[in-house]
Assembly symmetry: C2
Homo-oligomer: 468 residues x 2
């Protein structure tokens, strides 16, 4: 929670808008500095300002009411889920209303035979999986934080098992969205696939709330595997680790997870999670399937690892051991901050074609060698996606400048390899110039779409691209 | 090739446009009735008219030239691939230029380490797989016809192995597209995943050429499995067949293909392909993996089948046997026409949540029982997607009306089950009313997007929705 928040003097809402909000929503509208301040902070380093009001919506009807009111009064509107965005996507940088979706947290419809579930946007991924467990189903997408499903859809989130199960792009079957004119539309039906018109679902997935407010999400689910087995293996080199995973994919081994952590990240994880892994480049694996299938996968991957300079596999087959291992992985960000007490986090991510991943990580390690700030690398090898996490002194501008320059070089390196400036964090505030470097005139098309669907720039202004 | 083509008198192109085309493209512009007529026909039953000209583009620069010329002169422009659309998506129903992409058939860049390939839009799926085979890679999406990759992207095509490998939605990593203002944009980089701005790739996938002209496509590839094994199994009931597949998915068995053919389709296939399968509801399976994995999958699926009234498995492990089996499946449409020599084909498809598939097929069989026209059912069980194929007498209007009414009831049935009016054929001309029934005001959003990206309605007018 490091955002620099500017305290704006009092509510900037038109009096008529404020009266209508108070009348309809009562105590579920707040102008209190404490509440507003909570909605002006994010996990990382972006400056923001306070929203003029926070509305806690409890139903689609209330979302429609707020959207229409904002349209009528020219008020900006930014949706807020769990506040775990990495690129400041939920910060109300132009004020207006922060629409808190966390009370829209009902699980509406589990269709076990169809392997899907429909939830309100404010349900979190952990709450969803707790609900599903008894039915033998799970929802695989797992960004580190316990984000809301609406927020995850809006930032096209992914996580550790995208290599097997895909990202939010593959997970979302359908959405309900309130549009700028205050109508709720449905982007698709629940069928697994459809060729019916433009793909509205994927237009809203990753739009970071700039085109409408997601109220409901229908997600694909998967059967909980019969056998789950995790392993940790240390490597002499980054190339050896990356090559192991690429070879496994070439052989068609259906890895469920294949995470890379560099030596410094391993040191941070050991300290933070009280573990004692070797402090070398390490792969965290997970295998899903029947016993026979998992045994076969494991034997093949152990053989590949040993051919690429990997050490012995440390196994975790008990659920509590596996939880401990993956909790350590998911807390990599906090572990990095733990290397330097009092530091602020800066997280970035890029994604490259997987054949280039070893090069991209190696060159980045080389670039980080002279960095004056603790910096760790971890990532999703099977996707070609990795993170660099910096632990900065918030009061030393030279460190921010140094990290900004490193981040710019990282993005340029990924783009030169035909990769993307962000695999899973989004553009938000921080990567708008990078988006133009990446897609050039394609960004003009995005602007055309934005103007067509949100002509007055009401939704989440200042994200993805600067307001017109 | 059944389209009813109206011969329009001479070229309707403005003289200046015609002169510019002739000057730049010479013999690669044609106004000949024979050529124009070939570009005004489709696989099924939609009326069309001749284009005013056919242009055979050989480069992106030529596509840009044609787009700018059409924009300048107010000429309509419809891209044409292999002409295998089922819903008339490539028919130039408002005349103008038919832009034949079949000579843009270069395979530009195979990245074996990254499991991707970039091709020009006119490459066909069979040509691509022939090119890839030596590198141990394949491109899985297989609609029956040998369609172009550009056409398959535009209709969001899928086929028999979408249950394992996904559809064009999952297969397309990136596109190059010429937009209405004559610029070529790139929708994404080659990274496996990205959270960089709006998902332009998925906006063009399935847009049926109404938003721009796709010139290049980057596709995900897969390693050719170590072992491929196919099997055919007859069932006493449709429910037994569908339940077998659903249970297999619940167990996490990674079926590569699971196709259902009803008793009449089996009779048609036996006659057409000179086979002697039992003429009962039948599943065609394919299993991919290592020997151990395939053995395990097969044992499990045989056990499930036998518990659901399935007969003995007939196996095809030799490549030539498998090719024969899948060729028979892919020719199901022609086999149905073969039931009635001289007939015209009418093909439709719907897709429902998989738990509803057995009900949807059963009710449809019941509805077809009194149909005066031969009608067969086949489909992709693991996706919830199936086809009804009718063999009509083209000269008997009462038969067309009967089939139209059956199709309307089929669509209503699928929508009532929260399914879609088309799983893989597209909207084209034939399902525009169904699209509105399916998504209601969501279609207004599509129109907003169409107007934003193609303000003068140049691209493929009259498809997905009627012109404004």
């Amino acid at each position: 929670m490091n955002a620099v928040v500017e305290i704006s003097p009092g509510s900037g809402l038109p009096a008529a808008a404020r009266a209508a909000l108070d009348d309809r929503l009562g105590a579920r509208v707040s102008y209190a500095e404490g509440i507003c301040s909570q909605h002006a902070q994010s996990e990382t380093h972006f400056p923001s300002r306070l929203p003029d009001a926070v509305v806690f919506a409890e139903s689609t009807e209330e979302v429609i009411f707020v959207v229409r009111l904002c349209a009528e009064h020219g008020v900006k509107l930014t949706a807020f889920g769990a506040g775990t965005s990495i690129e400041g996507s939920a910060l109300p940088i132009f004020g207006g209303i922060s629409l808190d979706m966390s009370r829209m947290n009902r699980i509406l419809d589990v269709n076990a035979d169809d392997f899907d579930v429909t939830v309100e946007a404010g349900v979190t991924r952990i709450a969803l999986n707790n609900h599903l467990r008894d039915q033998g189903l799970f929802f695989p997408v797992d960004p580190g934080a316990d984000a809301t499903i609406g927020g995850m859809a809006s930032t096209r989130a992914s996580g550790t098992n995208a290599v097997r199960y895909g990202t939010m792009r593959e997970a979302v079957l359908s959405l309900r969205v309130v549009t700028a004119d205050g109508r709720e539309i449905r982007t698709a039906r629940r069928a697994r696939k459809s060729a019916a018109g433009y793909d509205l679902t994927h237009l809203f997935v990753g739009a970071e709330g700039t085109l409408g407010i997601i109220t409901e999400v229908t997600l694909r689910l998967h059967p909980i595997p019969e056998v789950i087995s995790s392993a940790v293996c240390s490597f002499e080199t980054i190339e050896g680790a990356a090559t192991t995973v690429i070879q496994a994919i070439q052989l068609g081994i259906p890895l469920a997870r294949a995470e890379i952590l560099d030596d410094i990240q391993m040191r941070a994880v050991n300290l933070w999670s009280k573990l004692d892994y070797p402090e070398k480049t390490t792969l965290f694996f997970e295998f899903h399937g029947s016993q026979a299938s998992v045994d076969e996968q494991v034997a093949l991957v152990e053989e590949l690892s040993s051919g690429n300079g990997g050490g012995a596999f440390a196994w975790s087959s008990l659920p509590e051991e596996r939880s401990r291992l993956w909790k350590a992985r998911h807390e990599a960000y906090y572990a990095t901050l733990g290397l330097r007490p009092g530091s602020s986090g800066w997280a970035t991510d890029v994604c490259v074609p997987i054949g280039r991943l070893a090069d991209c990580i190696s060159e980045t390690k080389h670039d980080l060698a002279t960095c004056s700030v603790p910096a760790t690398i971890c990532g999703h090898v099977g996707d070609g996606n990795f993170h660099v996490l910096f632990a900065l002194d918030p009061d030393t501008p030279a460190e921010w400048e140094e990290v900004e320059a490193l981040n710019a070089r990282l993005i340029a390196r990924a783009l030169a390899m035909d990769g993307t400036c962000t695999g899973e964090h989004g553009i938000g505030i921080g990567k708008q110039a990078a988006l133009i470097d990446e897609l050039g005139e394609g960004v003009d098309l995005m602007r055309h779409i934005k103007r067509a669907l949100d002509p007055h720039g009401m939704f989440n202004p200042g994200k993805i691209f600067a307001p017109n």
